[in-house]
Amino acid sequence: MMRDGKVVSTEAITAVCYDDVVRMMVGRDIKKFFVKTRGTRTEDVFRVRDICLANPERPGDYLVDNVSFSVRKGEVLGLFGLMGAGRTELLETIFGLHPRRSSGSIYLHERRLQIDSPGGAIRSGIALVPEDRNLEGLIMEMSVRASISLASIAQTQRWGFLDSRLEKRLASDYISRLRIKVASDRQKVEHLSGGNQQKVVIAKWLATKPQVMLLDEPTRGIDVNAKNEIYKLISDLAAAGLAIVMVSSELPEILAISDRLIVLSEGRQTGEFEPSSACEEMILKAALPKSS
């Protein structure tokens, strides 16, 4: 077993069980499920109404079919569903990626937003951490420093010229805040571990100072240790007042981290649950496609 570049233990495979492996990776005993501190009730800050996304390949068919929800300040809204349920498409639509095929309204602090591009979404205070960090979240050949400032370059430039001091300060700030393990901020992102790469993506989005954060499977492909760090991060962000929407296909994870949970199936909203009182069977039932 290796952790942080050092060998921490050597065991025969038959002598260890799953929990032991997890413990050795993390360095301390962890509860199987992360326990999130539940926030107190606050006001609605982010609301979407009747979001629809047309299927470009089948006219009349919708990838997202009249989905509406609202999120309070400091709340984590979980979005659960199976693959193909339309969760990613929903987030993408809200983020302005499909302006021509979509309809619906989005409100931030009761003010209607007109979002027709990701740039517009960012300016309105919305951030999207995409599902696949390799394909959509990161530019592999870029340095950590450049990656973190990419979505908020307006802050680190003057008259079109980049200010490297501001950039460096921004990067160091997030590297320490999110505990991103890098040899230097000039290191290319492709050399980082999955967990650290995801932290860079999250840092990039935090740098845009959003009020709403959309997370699409943020812990996919990340080891247990880093997963926990990300859960804590999400919890901290919510505590700081961000409205968070998180998509996940891991039921235990989403039950642990959400304040409220909605389920998507075949593009439609099929249920809303309270994680503390919900039973897994009901949630899964809501997620299964009806046409089967």
Partner: protein, 324 residues
Amino acid sequence: MKFREYKTRLENLRSLAALFLMVLVFSVLREDFRTLDNFWTVMRQVSVNTCISVGMTLVILTGGIDLSVGSVLALSGAFAAGFLRNGVEIPALNLFVGVTVLGSIVIAGFVGSGLGFFNGLMITRFKIPPFVATLAMLTIARGLTELWTGGANITGLGSTFDFFGTGWLFGIIPMQVCICAVIVFIAVVVLRRTRFGRYIYAVGGNEQAARLSGLNVDNVKVLVYTISGFLAAIGGIIVTAKIDSASPTAGVAYELDSIAAVVIGGTSLSGGKGSVLGTVLGALIIGVLNTGLTSVGVDPFWQKVIKGFVILLAVAIDKMRRKD
């Protein structure tokens, strides 16, 4: 931090070493190679290619390609020459306006930029692959050049205009080299220190990630092709001024040398990786190779074969290095 940075510098250093080696070899073989006169000959020969290769670098960095630069060069030069010689004549209004040297250069700039902009539009709005769009423009612009010149050269452009291709600034540095140096300098600054430069690398590195980060990918692309067209026009001015003649066959196959320079310089054809200085190095290597082989008496046709192998060698070495 140091090691990773030095690695890229090292790659360029190896090309630099190769360049020095070539210069050394040719200087030893031929006495007239190691003169200042010859140095400027090489520099002047390399100027036009460097100029258009800077534009090509920007385009390739975004993951595209511009095959039309040779033809755009020709058309821009032809427009400049044509307007300079004949002015603007509108018989219907009984109007004749002479065009100054500056005016002709501005016109060429607009022609080049306009054609480049058109390329950009085809690629972004109509989603035509860059290879196809610029290939079409290559033919279109060449045809337009032949139409505009009527198939013949336009000559007699005057010493002021010709100064841009033949003159020596302060008597010591050839104009072409100056123009080229300024362009290289601006390009290096833009790519390294500006937001636009950062966006170019982002779009080429991962277009979807760039888009999701809020970048206007289409705008970046259109601008980059426009610049390429503009720089091709500058090349056209230099070429036309150099021989005091706008020829319908000017710039033929220039895009090949340009792409070769970019590729030898270490820029990846898939975009996101590379530099203008690398391209300059690539152009110098090609220039020294051409001049050196000529001075040693190698058949021009063999030179082409050798140049081709140099390109293969350069890229193969680059790919092997990246494997680790």
